[in-house]
């Protein structure tokens, strides 16, 4: 019963001379699989960085790299939460709106209502928590499909943020408490630097570590993979599917809130419409990073690479003076190419396993 044990990972050995193409293919797949499973994304990142470095001498400079990291730190924070949600086979369209709400609530509480710094920050996070809890409740108790529930909150939450800010940027002259702007701690982390390193990068790194820790070190993370991998099996194994989904959406909303608060610090201002369409960037980053949209698979590391790809692309094309119109087109196509490459890798791997 030797063949009863485990199928071989390798392609069949002793390929005939005519099978050169298949051998090359096998090797490419092996390389892609070898790079930590991030396959297509990491290759694409390396290619992009190499290409831009050669073509634009001022691309690969410390200043420019830090610039990219600073610009996409907030996207990273939102994308980490999105990763957790997508691993549970959900999707959170409301992350960017939640970020705007958290930043706005914090800003209004501090600058307009004159609350203390910690209270204002906690109110911002609290607003985010409520959005996440509402998402989780609507999805698990009302059985609204994830994409619809969060599409609803995306719209509603922008409305709440407009209501809170009166549709004006925060702080604004008519309502501001004398001498107040954004909370100093928030401005420090969002816009400050240590030597030349923007602190917002460190905040994003902390968020990534938190996401990684939850996914790979906690029982909640294990439950997330189980629920996304096979909801029925998770249920039969006694995992509380609803509770897992609920907390995943709460964590996503909290990470988004941190992102929104940091964005307010970086801009030294908040408004209800900031981070517009950033939810789509986060989904793109997660998918580029190799997380399966149907759940059960994925890593924070992949998402980090995914955000880098989007950032490098935007920055590199800017340096070349490529028009924003073309930037959209190119970014869109790259997303499709990377994911196509990843799908091809999966199919080829599965075929090799099946053949052995």
């Amino acid at each position: 019963m030797a063949e009863d044990t485990v199928r071989d990972d390798q392609a069949p050995e002793g390929t005939a001379p005519g099978d050169d193409r298949r051998a090359v293919r096998t090797r490419i797949v092996a390389v892609l699989n070898g790079i930590g499973g991030q396959g297509g994304a990491l290759v694409m990142l390396v290619v992009l960085v190499a290409a831009f470095s050669v073509l634009a001498p001022n691309f690969l400079t410390v200043g420019n790299v830090l610039n990219i990291l600073r610009q996409f730190a907030v996207t990273m924070m939102l994308a980490i939460g999105q990763t957790l949600v997508i691993i549970t086979a959900g999707i959170d369209l409301s992350v960017a709106a939640t970020a705007a709400l958290a930043g706005s609530v914090m800003g209004v509480a501090f600058a307009h209502w004159g609350m203390s710094q910690p209270v204002a920050i906690l109110l911002g996070l609290g607003a985010g928590f409520l959005v996440g809890a509402f998402n989780g409740w609507a999805i698990t108790k009302l059985k609204v499909p994830d994409i619809i529930a969060t599409l609803g909150t995306l719209t509603a939450v922008r409305g709440v943020a407009l209501l809170v800010t009166g549709g004006l940027p925060v702080p604004n002259f008519s309502q501001v408490v004398e001498g107040r702007r954004m909370p100093p701690a928030v401005t420090f982390l969002g816009a400050g630097t240590y030597y030349r390193v923007p602190l917002i990068i460190l905040v994003a790194a902390v968020c990534a570590v938190v996401g990684w820790f939850i996914l790979s070190r906690t029982t909640l993370g294990r439950a997330m993979y189980a629920v996304g991998g096979n909801r029925e099996a998770a249920h039969v194994s006694g995992i509380n599917v609803n509770r897992t989904k609920f907390w995943t959406y709460v964590i996503s909303a909290l990470l988004a809130s941190v992102g929104g608060i940091m964005l307010s610090g970086r801009l030294a201002s908040a408004n209800a419409l900031m981070a517009n369409l950033m939810e789509l960037q986060t989904i793109a980053a997660v998918v580029i990073g190799g997380t399966a949209l149907f759940g059960g698979e994925g890593r924070v590391g992949g998402t980090v690479i995914g955000v880098f790809i989007i950032g490098v692309l935007a920055n590199g094309l800017n340096i070349f003076g490529v028009s924003e119109f073309w930037q959209s087109i190119i970014t869109g196509l790259i997303i499709v190419v990377v994911v196509a490459l990843d799908q091809w890798r999966r199919r080829a791997t599965a075929a090799a396993e099946g053949a052995a």
Partner: protein
């Protein structure tokens, strides 16, 4: 010359021999029943004739002319229609659209010609005795009507041989009789009907001839007239019908041991009638029933997947209410469902799958204790002899038998003392089958109580201490393991007789 002739068909799936040289001849205008236990090869044979499965060897002749295997389109064009057990209608579309799916008449402009649709679909509906507005969508109708729509669809393409796979499995008696009327009309017009079932009474009633398959082999073809249900049951289950009793001599376990699970009037209306059940430590109780008898529903109710609507349940002497699998697991119950794929997380490692129901054992507060997880997983991999290079291998890379052992390991790991196993060897090859049963027997010897649900009499008799028979959502008989296979089969099908 027979209308349809199948010669020497072989079909081998990895590890399973589904058909081993089966012959079948069908005459025009006859109802030819295909009878056999689960796994006997009935469905595979039907699919081969319909072109949905490509056999490894054999011939198919229609009117003496060869029909190539492996193309549903060709089979359909030559006049072979099939209605699968799982209907393949599109619920949102109208009856007319479903019947003519893929070949809707068009106008000159390439648009659907709705007038022509209605006029061309009418005779087909009339032929199957379906008097409904063809514009209504299929989802408005029950199983019986859908079945007839499906048949109308099959006959609409000049069908000469109609294959029906377990057509009554979801029908009531009255609906079944209506279907038989339709079948009768069809054969009257020269169509041959091949009828797959394992319900003896209806087969005897409707068929002209009966072919019995067992383990992928042709056992016998007999005229339906004059054959008794008992004779057929004997052919289905094989020679040793009233031969030696089970491997476990009756009463090896049980009578003296503690009752670990007691259900009193436990029911889930309307599909599961009140059930009384007692399970003792170290006992294996077989639950036998045909497809649709309610075995799986009972199992799911006992595991909290479909909470009971009435009755009471005691586990280890304490009354419990099971609202979810988590409750059942906490009470010491484990469950292996009939669909192995539904129980495993394929992209997770063997180790993670084994410990999935025991997170309480592998956690330190909110954190995973990976060392503990590894120890536990390796322990059960060893104990059950699961063949993997490392516990980090993805569970999807394992063979069916080893996957099944991973599921058993999951419940040993969760320290379940009551195991509900629903068809635990489905789709597992013969060698692994025996191994799984050896494990189950060994566990029962260690005091685990096992509820073994099966649709194979042989398994129930061989491995269980006693057998409960289910039909139509209720327990119809409690028999000792040395009850004859005829007795069991009769109890399982009796309600329909």
């Amino acid at each position: 010359m027979p209308l349809l002739e199948v010669r020497g068909v072989h079909k081998v799936y990895p590890g399973v021999r589904a058909l081993a040289g089966v012959d079948l001849t069908v005459e025009a205008g006859e109802v030819h029943a295909l009878l056999g236990e689960n796994g006997a090869g009935k469905s595979t044979l039907m699919k081969a004739v319909a072109g949905a499965v490509t056999p490894n060897a054999g011939d198919l002749l229609l009117d003496g002319e060869p029909v190539p295997f492996g193309s549903p389109q060709t089979s359909r064009d030559r006049g072979i229609g099939i209605v699968y057990q799982e209907l393949s209608l599109v619920p949102a579309l109208s009856i007319a659209e479903n019947v003519l799916l893929g070949r809707l008449p068009r106008t000159r402009f390439g648009l659907v010609d709705w007038k022509a649709v209605r006029t061309s679909v009418a005779p087909h509906l009339e032929r199957v005795g379906l008097d409904v507005d063809p514009r209504r969508s299929v989802r408005d109708f029950g199983m019986a009507e859908r079945q007839l729509v499906e048949i109308a669809k099959a006959v609409s393409s000049n069908v000469r041989v109609l294959l029906l796979d377990e057509p009554t499995s979801a029908l009531s008696d009255r609906e079944s009789r209506r279907l038989f009327g339709v079948i009768h009309d069809l054969t009257g017009s020269g169509v041959a009907v091949v009828y797959v079932s394992h319900r003896l009474p209806e087969v005897v009633a409707i068929a002209d001839r009966i072919t019995v398959l067992r383990d992928g082999e042709h056992v016998e073809t007999v005229p339906a007239e004059g054959v008794s249900e008992q004779q057929l049951a004997r052919m289905m289950v094989g020679r040793a019908v009233d031969g030696p009793t089970s491997a476990r001599a009756a009463g090896t376990a049980g009578s003296g041991a503690d009752v670990v699970l007691r259900a009193t009037g436990l029911a889930r209306r309307p599909r599961l009638a009140p059930v009384d059940l007692e399970l003792r430590a170290g006992e294996i109780v077989g639950i036998f029933g045909l497809v649709g008898a309610g075995r799986t529903r009972l199992a799911r109710t006992l595991f909290g997947l479909e909470p009971a609507t009435e009755g009471s349940l005691e586990v280890f002497g304490a009354p419990v209410t099971l609202r979810s699998p988590a409750d059942a697991i906490a009470a010491g119950i484990g469950y292996v469902g009939e669909d192995r794929a539904a129980g495993l997380i394929h992209r997770m490692s063997v180790g993670a799958n084994i410990t999935l129901a025991s997170l309480s054992r592998t956690r330190r507060g909110p954190l995973m204790d990976f060392a503990r997880e590894r120890d536990l997983a390796e322990h059960y991999v060893d104990q059950l002899g699961i063949r993997v290079p490392t516990i980090d291998a993805l569970v999807e890379t394992l063979s069916g038998g080893n996957q099944q052992k991973v599921l058993l390991a999951r419940w040993l790991c969760s320290q379940a003392r009551i195991l509900i196993l629903d068809d635990p060897v489905r789709g597992v090859d013969v060698g692994a089958k025996e191994e799984v049963y050896r494990l189950v027997t060994q566990l029962s010897a260690e005091g685990v109580a096992v509820l073994l649900l099966t649709s194979e009499i042989k398994e129930a008799r061989t491995y269980a201490d006693r057998v409960l028979v289910m039909a139509d959502g209720a327990i119809t008989a409690a028999l000792p393991a040395d009850a004859s296979e005829d007795q069991i089969m009769t109890a399982a099908g009796g309600v329909h007789g």
